[in-house]
C-alpha cells in the first residue's frame, strides 16, 4: 500500500466523508457532548480509541470466522456483542490501571457502546471490502474526523450557547441549525482529495 493510499484513506475519512457531518453517524454525542471543549475532546479521544480497537477485533472475526462459515449475516449480532463487551472491558481496565485516564474518558465510555459511529465504521469496513490495514486506517481516520467535527462544533457552541434564541428554537433546534451551517463548509472540500492523490 502506497503512502498516497494511506493518506487518501485517512484524509477522506476525516474531511470529505466525515462521519458526523456527511454520513450522520454519531450525531447523538455530537449534539450532546459538544457543549464544552474539554468533554468534546474527551469523548472524541475515547471514540478514536474504541473505534480502532473495535475494528481490530471485528475485522478478523468477520473475515476468519463468519464469512468462511457462511454466516456473514450474523455480523450485526456478533459485532454489537463484541463492541459492548469491549467497551465494558476497556472501562474496567482503565478504572483499575489508569485511573487518571478513566477519570477523563471513563464517563464517555458507556455512551460509546451505542454510538452508531463505532458499529458503523466496523460494518462499513467490511462493506467496502477493506483489508485489515485499510480498515484500521479508515477507523482511525473516522475517529479523527469525529474529533475534528467535535472540535469545530464545540467552538461554535461555546460562542452561541447563551444567545437569546427565539422561544421555539431554544435548545436542540438551534443546535441542529448550527450543525447545518457547520456541515455546509465541509462541502467545499469535495473532490479535493481525489485531485491531490489522483484517485
Amino acid at each position: 500500500m502506497s503512502a498516497a493510499t494511506v493518506f487518501y484513506i485517512v484524509l477522506s475519512a476525516i474531511i470529505t466523508n466525515n462521519y458526523v457531518l456527511s454520513k450522520f453517524l454519531g450525531i447523538c454525542p455530537f449534539l450532546g457532548v459538544s457543549k464544552k471543549l474539554d468533554s468534546a475532546m474527551g469523548m472524541s479521544i475515547a471514540v478514536i480509541f474504541v473505534m480502532v480497537i473495535a475494528t481490530a477485533v471485528t475485522w478478523p472475526i468477520q473475515t476468519y470466522l463468519l464469512t468462511p462459515n457462511g454466516i456473514g449475516y450474523m455480523q450485526t449480532i456478533i459485532f454489537i456483542l463484541v463492541i459492548a463487551a469491549l467497551v465494558q472491558m476497556i472501562e474496567i481496565f482503565l478504572k483499575k490501571y489508569i485511573p487518571g485516564l478513566h477519570k477523563s474518558l471513563g464517563i464517555y465510555l458507556p455512551l460509546i457502546t451505542t454510538n452508531c459511529a463505532i458499529l458503523g465504521v466496523c460494518v462499513l469496513n467490511i462493506d467496502n471490502g477493506y483489508g485489515f490495514l485499510q480498515s484500521m486506517l479508515n477507523s482511525f481516520g473516522s475517529g479523527v474526523g469525529f474529533l475534528l467535527a467535535m472540535f469545530l462544533f464545540a467552538g461554535v457552541r461555546s460562542k452561541i450557547e447563551t444567545n437569546d434564541y427565539p422561544e421555539a428554537f431554544k435548545g436542540v433546534a438551534s443546535t441542529l441549525v448550527a450543525a447545518s451551517i457547520t456541515s455546509l463548509c465541509f462541502l467545499g472540500f469535495s473532490g479535493m482529495l481525489e485531485k491531490i492523490f489522483g484517485m
Partner: protein, 324 residues
Amino acid sequence: MAERHTNLIVASAPHVVSPANTASIMRDVLIALIPALAVSVYVFGIRALMLSVCCVVFCVFFEWLSRRIMKRSNTIGDLSAAVTGLILAFNLPVRLPFWMAAVGCLIAIVVVKQLFGGLGQNFANPAIVGRITLFIGFASPMANWTITSRMSQAILSAAEVDATTGATPLALSAAGLPVPTNMEMFLGLINGSMGEISAAALLLGGIYLIVRKVISPAIPVSFLATVAVLSLVFGLDPIFQLCAGGVMLGAIFMATDYVTSPITTTGRIIFGIGCGVFTMLIRVYASYPEGVSFAILLMNILTPHIDRLTRHKTFKPAEGGASK
C-alpha cells in the same frame, strides 16, 4: 438658595462617547460598497442595480418580519440587514432570478442571523452562508454567467468558440483557455458574480473603510498576502489570483465582518492567513472553482477557537513578581 435641579439623569461614566455607533459603521460599509456597485452596473447593465435593490429590500424586510414575529425590538435601523443584502447581491450572478435571491436573503437573515438571536450572535457570516447555500442548492443558475460587450476580449472570444463557456476567468484558467489581461482583471471588465469583478473598486472601498477606521487592515492584508504567496508557491500568477473570483470582496467585506471574525489583531492575522490558505487549496484542488466563501465560512467556525487562543495578556507583572 439657587434654583434646584432634581431628577437628573444618573448613568454610569463615561458620560461622553465616541461618535461611531453601529449604524454609522454599517453606513460606512454601504458607502464603501458603492464603487463596486457602480462598476457592476457599468459592466452588467441596469439589472445589477435591480438585483442589488431586490436583495437589500428582501433582507431588510426579512429582518423586520422576523423581529416582528419574535416580538422583539425593530433593528432595521442599524443597517446591518442592508449591508448583508448588498454583499449577498454582490455574490450573485447578475441573471439570477429574483426569487432565488430572495431565498438567499431568507437564509442569510432569518436562518443564519435571527434564529441565533440577531445581530452579534450569529457565528457565521450571513451573506457567506446565503451565497454557499444558493451556490450548492441552485448550482446551475448560480453558474449562469452573463457576457456583455463591455467585457474583456478573452472572455468574448472564449464565448464565441464555445457557447457554454460563459465562464469566469477562474474557469477559463482551469480549462486552459486564454484569460483576460491583469489590467482588465483589476478594473473588472470580466464576468463573475456581480460585485466581485472589479478589484479596483473593491480596493477603493477597502481603503475608505480603513481610513475611517471601520475595519483594521489585519484581515484583508493577511488574506490577500497569503493568496499571493500561495499562488507563487503553486506556480500561478498572483495578480490574476488576487483579482479573480471573490478574493477581494471576501477579504475586504466578508472576512472582516466583526461578528464572525476574531477580536484581537493576532487572531485576525491568523484568520486572514487561514482564509487565504483554504481559498487556494480549494481553488487548486477541490472540484469547485472558487473557494473564498467556503474558506471564510470555515474560518468563521474556527473563530471561537482562534479567539480562545489569542487572548490578550493582561497587564500585570510576570509570575512571581511583586504582589501583595
